[in-house]
Subunit: 663 residues, 3 copies
């Protein structure tokens, strides 16, 4: 539970550095991240390396007992390098070059760039190999930001063919796996296969899925190259990377296997504006607590160690459409939220507002003139509070399964304008959080035996191995909730030849007779004696061994089964054939928790969330209405009344807490 900051000494005169480091010490900052966009300062001209300036700052940190997190500078190769190796630039599906001028202007599969990467990373690592203040490295920066994860250039074409050769061995195996009889797509040689470039009609979904896997794997390889270089120089260093919120095209579990821990970048007032015009006042002031919690939990699980927040929003930011001031105290609220979900370090981005370049409208802990900004105050308070709190582990009785292959496949064939994988999984996440339950977010291949209950929303791609492991989990007493569109497809993105949920049908004891998307239609379903709304998708279930517990009451499917339940061995499996409304999700989840003997709170007010770590429980009020806490536990921070956008910490368990709105 430490505090860090992202610092760009290259933006400021040398004379200022001393003052900056002193002010960091005063704020209780321990970690200083540097260097991720500094290549043109580290190597102002070809082969003219200049690391002295960076070393000077790192020395300064050492003197003050602070630690340096250095970054490889590969996110922004200098223009002179691009001009010498123009082939490192990426290409759009239509062949347009993504030119120099912003950032992330390189292809992950460029051999020329791999060489340049080795050169600069090795040189940097060697220079700082023995420096006592350097504790670890961030590789590159936000892999894939600005739509750069997937590239369609010739280097990628070559690498994709190689990737396919490795995977399939011979082209007939690929033809079989993809199913290339359709639309005459049979290939006679791997050399025929291009990236999915601009076409008139849709691409083959199996080709797409493999391209998405290949693209994610290309980043995994590229990160591994960097991690290996760094570790070969000093094996004590940690290696991490700063991931992005609910980021579709990169599998962080795969990258995470080469990291000591994962980090991510937290911009709460920006995230809800991804779809412009939908954010409400609370979201514009403090964000959506479940969006933050979900990603904290995801990145906590994505790599072995405790996760970091590498970049924490410090005030107003530049990139969302609406650049509101966060509410008073919001920066402290967010830091506590991360810590409650298990963060080891919260590092603010950035130290000081930058006078130049693309991010001038991004605030820092310090203003443009060097004076303290709103975030500096919040950060200092939080740092002092963290000092007084004991650390501990996050204990999670429930797992939520997240499968990137399914995400990529569904992203190509959503089959409804409103189907969004992230939103669907978050429906269940919010239902769990609305009952104060802590949760891990893990891939389906993980060992699930430690969890009392598992929620598996849309296990779209599947095989018998996965079906067996889930069956075993249930038989041994697990409670499993499986949802719509599970078991549709095989690992190659072809339909299973059996009726969905395909490999899961035996476990579920029911099959899907029909499915439909239902946007714009009346959508009601009955469950547990109550009538609920649902959205987006409906499956008409045929029970074989299962009990029907939910039924359609509107539409062409009226009277058909929507939700089934079945006892298997010592456990229970529920299958949900719709995308539930919030109320239905709450009913489903509380029934699941009860079945699994998982303790939970009363349903929490909207935008009020609870998280437990070690002996402490945090209560977060992300709403503009005051709340009152009823608990026997003792308050470490705050008291029984929590103001708008504020928090409290008690010693004790979340289940001892009752929350009431004072509206």
């Amino acid at each position: 539970m430490n505090v860090g900051v992202c610092y760009f000494p290259e933006h400021w005169p040398r004379e200022r550095w001393q003052t900056d480091l002193e002010q960091m010490t005063e704020a209780g900052i321990e970690y200083v991240r540097m260097g991720e966009f500094s290549w043109s300062r580290l190597e102002p001209e070809p082969d003219a390396l200049d690391f002295e300036w960076l070393e000077t700052v790192v020395d300064g940190l050492a003197e003050r007992g602070m630690k340096a997190v250095l970054c490889t500078p590969t996110a922004t190769p200098p223009k002179w390098l691009v001009d010498r190796h123009p082939e490192i630039l990426q290409e759009e599906p239509d062949g347009t070059v993504r030119a120099f001028g912003g950032r992330r202007h390189y292809c992950f599969n460029s051999e020329a760039y791999h060489e340049q990467t080795e050169r600069i990373v090795s040189a940097l690592a060697e220079r700082f190999a023995e420096h006592p203040a350097v504790v670890g490295w961030q590789t590159d920066n936000e892999f894939g930001c600005h739509g750069t994860l997937r590239c369609y250039c010739e280097d990628c074409a070559d690498a994709f063919r190689e990737w396919l050769r490795d995977k399939y061995g011979d082209v007939e195996t690929l033809n079989e796996a993809w199913g290339t009889s359709f639309w005459s797509q049979h290939h006679t040689d791997f050399e025929e296969i291009d990236p999915p470039r601009h076409t008139a009609a849709d691409h083959h979904p199996s080709r797409r899925l493999d391209y998405h896997r290949f693209s994610s794997d290309s980043v995994v390889e590229y990160n591994r190259l960097q991690a290996a270089l760094l570790r070969s120089v000093n094996d004590d260093w940690f290696v991490t990377h700063n991931f992005m919120v609910s980021f579709t095209p990169l599998n962080p579990f795969d990258v995470g296997s080469d990291l000591d821990f994962a980090a991510w970048d937290v911009y709460p007032t920006g995230f809800p504006q991804t779809t412009p015009g939908t954010a409400d006042t609370d979201e514009l002031r403090v964000g959506n607590p479940d969006q933050l919690g979900f990603n904290h939990d995801l990145y906590r699980c994505a790599a072995p160690g405790e996760f970091w927040v590498m970049e924490q929003q410090p005030g107003e930011i530049n990139w969302p459409p609406i650049t509101t001031q966060p509410a008073d105290g919001a920066m402290r609220l967010w830091a506590h939220h991360a810590v409650a979900h298990g963060a080891a370090v919260v590092s603010y981005f950035r130290w000081r507002r930058c006078l130049e370049g693309q991010e001038q409208y991004h605030s820092g802990l310090r203003k443009r003139d060097g004076s303290a900004d709103r975030g500096y105050h919040d950060a200092s308070v939080a740092a002092a509070e963290f000092e007084a709190l004991t650390s501990g582990d996050v204990d999670t009785p429930v797992a939520l399964l997240l499968d990137y292959d399914s995400l990529w496949a569904l992203d190509e064939q959503p089959m409804s304008p409103s189907f969004n994988y992230w939103e669907h999984i978050q429906t269940y996440y919010s239902a769990l959080r609305g009952r104060g339950v802590d949760v891990d977010i893990v891939p389906p291949s993980d060992d699930l035996s430690t969890y009392d209950a598992v929620i598996a929303p849309t296990l779209y791609l599947s095989d018998t191995e996965l079906a067996s492991s889930l069956s075993e989990y249930v038989e041994r007493g697990g409670s499993l909730l499986l949802t719509m569109r599970s078991g549709e497809k095989d690992r190659s993105n072809k339909l299973h030849p059996t009726t969905p949920p395909g490999p899961f049908a035996d476990l579920v004891g029911a099959t899907v007779e029909q499915h439909e998307s239902v946007d714009g239609l009346e959508t009601m379903v009955q469950y547990g004696g109550e009538t609920y709304d649902y959205r987006t998708w409906a499956e008409w279930l045929a029970d074989e061994d299962a009990t029907i517990v939910g039924e359609y009451t509107t539409g062409t499917g009226t009277g058909r089964a929507a939700i089934t339940e079945r006892t298997v061995g010592d456990g229970r499996i529920v299958y949900v054939g719709v995308w539930p409304s919030e109320d239905l999700a709450d009913a489903l989840v509380t029934d699941l928790l009860q079945q699994a003997d998982v303790e939970h709170t009363d349903r929490l007010p909207e935008r009020v969330r609870i998280a437990e770590r070690g002996d402490l429980t945090w209560i977060f009020n992300y709403s503009s209405e005051k709340i009152t806490i009823d608990t026997g536990a003792s308050f470490q921070i705050g008291g029984s009344t929590i103001s708008e956008y504020d928090l409290a910490v008690v010693e004790g368990s979340s289940t001892e807490i009752t929350v009431e709105h004072n509206s």
Copy 2:
């Protein structure tokens, strides 16, 4: 009145074919269409032809007394062919190549592709030349789907120049025809003229129109090449093509002149979703009956013989945004609808849901596991019903004129955000259908003398020849309704030098003083003592020889004439200067029918339609409300109460029928 199915044996193991063919027989299927995307199975490697598999299936059909409709496989050249002849790929207006990966990845003007086409089509035709089960061919598949009708590559540039040379002879004639004094577009040589590629400002409308004609003609030529090859091998075969719904860039009358009959592909729940978010519940369940009827009538008229439905939606489909389940019985409803409008065959697409490729979310008559799906039941019922019904001709007292040149010209210069040629013509179509009147949809150049009344919406491009023939039609007793924007332009898409309706002014007896588009304005007009709304377009008419029968009551044009009428010889001409609301269209059309002595029903309830063929009359209820029929005629199918989305058939004329809602 037969039933068919589209079958892809190449998607299934050889062992399954027998079962499939047996189940087809059981369902009453007579025609099986095959092969349209099978090139890479027919020629897995360059020059390694393999037709055996297809022949095996055709043999199987012969054994069971079914007939094969084979397709030329040119819609999807294999990748090895594309790699050998990359110049066959199309290009966007900005030069981007439309790459391999979907379908329709070839240019209609590629000489290399013409050669390849001749090679594969000849080989296929010769192999099946004597086969007794093969009764005819479908050329290619859905020409122009996915925006591929117009291409902008160098082959097209050359072919366009050639087309212009043929049309104009010398370049000064072209300069004169187009009017190239405007914006300095005078050409000194045909070689100067490019396809209308990406420009900053709009292209010259005359260049555009000729490019659209050239593009449609390129497909006509390409289809003719195939038809001639097929007929040269076996002149008993029929040749057809499967057209698409209200498809703008291809003139089916021109293609139709090389076909024995036209076919089209019917997807009722998808069509209303072309503009996302506008379809209502009924449309999402059964579609829009007038959209279906209009296209049935169009394709019945597009070629000499009785039309086919080549692809009939069998259940839920993959390509619209919302993939609803059709209502119970919808597949039977649609099959009857086609038959009532004169279809000879209704062929379902597809036999069985495909496990692989882009259309996995398209249902079939059989499910993925081979069991019967909802559509199979519907199709079997319809097939049995057709057996019992007598066939006959569709008798049409009224013609609606459809002019593709005008459509293309207006598509470039709509002059209002809401002007859409198809929607406008359908306003009148719906008004006719709302009175139970059967209608032909024909080009203005057709012989109209057999029709009692003719509706000519927006005869935008015109010449004195057309004006003479329409005048003659009226003088000899015809009733003609001509509408706004008629006579604006000459055949080259230049304005006529005379006031609109230009060549029709003498016939109409009135001219257009001013026009305006009126979106967002108050729009009311008086006609026959009633006040009606109108939309999109208004013309202020100056009467010369005509009688004013409609007048504006709002806006800057208040008090000006909007609709005129004139008796000429033994007939009458009405000119309508607005786009009428539904009620005004009904009033105009019933007045026209009365004048022309055409019998009609009372105004039918919304979404209830009637069609007459031979001695039979069908009543279709496309609404979710029960209706009651009052008639003396005898019911062949159904009875006097028709449930939601159901139908009845009586022996007798449509005019003996009265329909009431039981709401």
Copy 3:
């Protein structure tokens, strides 16, 4: 106060010219503009010049005492020229060529095109050097129309590097000015610097700003080339150019320094439709009076002489989405509006509707058949009225500052979906016009000493020199209103290192503690005892020497200062930290006028405007409701009741007038 027309003799047969010229004379037309798109008629084939036809028409004008305004034909090079010099075509940021087919298909930095320009302009100028009817020239036509002001081709890349070399001398100076430490953008040589082509992430704002300056300067150079050629042939000729409404990418003050006077093209019913669907009925019939007034005032100030309306909408036009008929009398209303704001000539576009090409749906004073259209009547009436009115100067007590550098910089970083520089400046313009105050629109570098009050909305880019000159203005008794986002950036588009308003902070006596964009939030502010709404942007001000006169009453900033005021020397400075609602703008402006002793009217009804020129005052009613004028002055045109969309002219001052709605 003369009348002109735009004429295209090349569109009509030679036999017609005589008739056209006679009808122009009858309508009171004095100036005839010709030739701007006639290159392919002036040079039908390479080097085959044919000016005879144009000379014949100019001779005809001379015979009738009319004057010719000739145009250089460079906006539309012929296709044969493009084929010989394809490098003259422009390129999009993604490298796509902007092909031949529309107009403006040349790059301003093409050396080949500069040569061709010199050739054709010299030849034309020499041919008409001595012609008595030719009084002046329009260079080219609407520079930059259709998004052609900025080009990204290799010629532009070379010219941009040259421009940067000239500006910065050495590349380190550029690195310093732009701030290229950010995202590793340090350059080692000018040759490295490309135009801002397609990138994944945003471009550096300093590079963008310089590219916008360079692009505008490229046009200034190109225009200067033409102006110099013309003047070298006949120094008595005037040289002008026809600018476009509120046109972002070109600085007309810079172009204006090479012109004798500025002209602009006025299409009132089109302008409000720039954002489709927002125009109301009045705007669709007569436009927005303040949009017209603003541009009249801007172009009056953009060059030394009295401005012209070079193209005046004559009736319905082709390019906006909705092509309404203007209200009865609208063409006369607009002509008077221009004259009241100081126009020397109002020239209608075009003489006669053209039968061919892209603008067939653009009306003229004469219809397609040559007969008089609605505009001809209006134009004739206006011409006769102008004869009877005395001319005079526009006297402007107030200046509104318009800074193109700030506009370009803000266009790249609006930081709110609703921030629009033009709309913001027009908020203040409308407030001034709503009080009957005449206003100049000038760059901040102008001498302001003659103005009683100055409004400076968002002086975004600034330096100490500008701050000094404004301070001096205030100290000497000026009243200055400065607004939000002033003093944010330096001239290189970097942030000032000091707190905003940066260089203006001393003058204002307050600084900006925080800013935020506020779209979707509740936004209220208190000023002068009243509560007002505001929009888009809020700054929390810290007063140092200033008095707080406005304060936030909603949101996170509640209680913070929003507006300050300070007396400095003999003058006063007000700083407004929000984008005011109309009512707040009125309150701020009337307080400013009172402080500056500027006389003004009562607040005018919406869409009613007053303008004074010499001894005359015009009252314009752009609303559909009748108004009544209360005045002692004598009516020259009209009377005390003014109908919808009509006007009156009185002899006397605007401040003697009171307007009332008769609703």
